[in-house]
């Protein structure tokens, strides 16, 4: 702490070059955006009309359920796949690095390429359906693209990659001696997991889960490219963009954005309420 000198008046000036642009480009729009939700495009004065419209018109309020119905099950499946894979390869295992690398790989491709890849692989004439037909398992191909299923698959692939990329490092923070200790004391592998490994990693896993969940609530390009943005995958962002770019109704667009932000906050607080009920703290063995 002694290397820090208390700031003089002049020093504050050096904060301005970065603060002013942020105030203009971020804080002011944020506040203006919030006020905008209480205004109408043409008329003056404050009104709740936008929110009333949102919660009475099924065209709008349906987006809440559509988004959550798409994103919440996907996130849970992503967590299971990512945790299952990274837990299995957590100890030095031959090929573990390659498995981790391939699991995380879709993250480097980015959303748009993954969306196109899902279409190429799961479309009716794609490898997935032709393989199943050739094996005699099905007669008609599944419709897995340009609908709920397509968006779901693309989300699962991207989300699993994201969660796994965070979990890989996290698994290493649990001292392997703790598991060994439990095992020598007579615990089976499952009991060791249940009573030692999981309680220690739980809070971090839930944090990553929450991060991924709120990221996916903002899903857009996947919903548009592999999904069916007109109905099944009409998420918050799809509607917000529609209002902004097609109808030029920035007030309504921002109302949708605010409702999305609140939804994200609610989801976050639910996950953190669950997280608080377990052990939160260091998993290291020394103070």
């Amino acid at each position: 702490m002694n290397q820090e000198v208390f700031a003089k008046k002049r020093d504050y000036l050096l904060l301005l070059p970065s603060l002013i642009p942020l105030l203009l480009l971020f804080v002011y729009p944020l506040l203006k955006g919030f006020v905008m939700t209480f205004q109408q495009p043409e008329t003056a004065g404050l009104t709740l009309a936008n929110y009333v419209e949102f919660f009475t018109n099924s065209n709008y309020y349906d987006t809440i359920w559509r988004t959550l119905y798409l994103v919440v099950p996907a996130s849970i499946i992503e967590l299971f796949i990512a945790f299952g894979i990274t837990y299995f390869i957590r100890e030095k295992m031959r090929g573990g690095g390659i498995i981790a690398g391939l699991t995380i790989f879709p993250l480097t491709l980015g959303s748009i390429i993954v969306d196109m890849a899902v279409i190429a692989f799961f479309k009716p004439t794609g490898w997935f359906n032709t393989t199943l037909i050739n094996m005699g398992l099905i007669d008609e191909p599944f419709t897995l693209v340009y609908n709920y299923a397509g968006a779901f698959i693309a989300l699962v692939i991207l989300g699993t990659a994201f969660i796994a990329s965070n979990l890989v490092g996290m698994m290493g923070t649990i001292d392997p001696n703790l598991e060994r200790a439990a095992r020598t004391l007579g615990a089976s592998r499952w009991v060791t997991f249940k009573r030692v490994f999981w309680p220690l990693i739980r809070s971090n896993v839930l944090t990553v889960f929450a991060l991924n969940l709120i990221m996916q609530i903002g899903v857009y390009s996947t919903a548009v490219i592999v999904g069916n943005p007109a109905s099944e995958t009409r998420t918050f962002v799809v509607v917000a963009f529609e209002e902004a770019m097609r109808n030029f109704n920035y007030n309504m667009a921002n109302t949708v954005a605010i409702v999305m932000g609140i939804t994200q906050l609610l989801v976050l607080s639910i996950v953190f309420a669950i997280r608080k009920r377990g052990y939160i703290g260091s998993a290291s063995t020394f103070k």
Partner: protein, 371 residues
């Protein structure tokens, strides 16, 4: 001789196990961590595996524990091979170097963990946890979390957690290495007392020769994956078998050469480098013609003023003087260009550069082999 005799004064005696290790080898890729090690650990014995880091002692411990599978060879408990037994079924109490205490559990929960796994009844569990807590003197700390304990207290919890399950064998992996010097001594005494009380067959891994000699009933010295010597602390300390063992446990002065003659029950030794001749007492293992190493501990070397003693003396001058409390450590450089380490009790009566004579008592010189 038998360990069992020692238990006469004890109040609690647990049954225990004889551990045999037969031709145990462990390879990691092309490197051999343990080479063909054979070792018997008697009922109730306190066996220390002593050696520098990387000598294979921890690898042997891991194979007994079950975290590593031997490449070849066998480990048995009371004659039963355990290689294929899952580590959770081996009934071993283990104290890890970093204690590996569960940070999300209290002291009592940590200690009770092994009992939970054994489905011990609630009342029995309570009784045994309390006993264990008392045994390691952690009274009133049962409800604390691990992070609220000092290093020494954590160490005791780890010990209690390992013994409360009444293990067949107790394994300790450098348990004292994370404690400060004073606490280490205290814990050493406690560990010894505990072992005397319980009589559990104990295998202790350390690189600290002082710990090994003070705690154990038997010591195994290892280097480079090979067992160098097995013996009681007295044997190891008094009669190290080879250069490595002698050097490791603190013999400081070595002369390489040959036994050239024998007179009146004594050998005549001639050094290779400078043909220094010394008389040394006869021992049974060596004979004239052997290539050997002579060694003597720094505290066995004498600096003399008596001009009458002429045999086995070397003259030189003091080049280093290091006062270490109860004794002073000197380095004496002889005319032949050798350096000897000498420890002299008391204040330092010799000045730097002073000409002195060293006396190498034939009875205190030790003949050892290179390998």
């Amino acid at each position: 001789m038998s360990q069992a005799v020692k238990k006469k004064n004890s109040t609690t005696i647990l049954d225990s196990t004889r551990v045999e290790i037969r031709n145990l080898t462990k390879q990691f890729g092309s490197t051999t961590a343990v080479h063909n090690a054979s070792l018997d650990i008697e009922n109730g014995e306190f066996m220390t595996l002593l050696g520098p880091s990387g000598c294979g002692k921890t690898t042997i411990l891991s194979m007994i524990l079950g975290t590593l599978q031997p490449t070849s060879g066998e480990i048995t408990f009371n004659g039963q091979p355990i290689n294929k037994i899952d580590m959770s079924r081996r009934d071993i109490g283990m104290v890890f170097q970093n204690y590996a205490l569960f940070p999300h559990m209290t002291v009592a929960q940590n200690i009770a963990f092994g009992l939970d796994m054994r489905k011990v009844s609630k009342s029995e569990k309570k009784k045994r946890v309390e006993e264990a807590i008392e045994m390691v003197q952690l009274n009133d700390l049962g409800n604390r979390f691990i992070k609220d304990l000092s290093g020494g207290q954590q160490q005791r919890v780890a010990l209690a957690r390992a013994i409360v399950i009444r293990p067949r064998v107790l394994l300790l992996d450098e348990p004292l290495s994370n404690l400060d010097a004073k606490l280490r001594k205290e814990m050493r005494t406690q560990l010894k007392k505990l072992h005397d009380e319980l009589g559990i067959t104990t295998i202790y891994v350390t690189h600290d020769q002082e710990e090994a000699l003070s705690l154990s009933t038997k010591v195994t010295v290892m280097s480079n994956g090979i067992i160098q010597q097995i013996g009681t602390p007295k044997e190891i300390f008094g009669k190290p078998k080879n250069y490595f063992v002698a050097n490791f446990i603190g013999y400081g002065n070595f002369l390489r050469g040959k036994l050239i003659d024998e007179q009146d029950g004594q050998f005549i030794f001639e050094a290779d480098k400078d043909s220094v001749r010394l008389v040394v007492n006869h021992d049974k293992q060596h004979q004239v013609g052997d290539e050997v190493i002579l060694t003597i501990k720094p505290e066995m070397l004498e600096i003399i003023t008596d001009p009458k003693i002429g045999m086995n003396t070397l003259s030189g001058k003091i080049t280093v003087s290091d006062y270490i409390g109860s004794a002073t450590g000197y380095e004496v450089e002889t005319k032949e260009g050798r350096t000897f380490k000498v420890n002299v009790l008391g204040l330092n009566p010799y000045a730097m550069g002073e000409e002195v004579r060293l006396y190498l008592d034939p009875a205190k010189l030790l003949i050892i082999d290179e390998e």
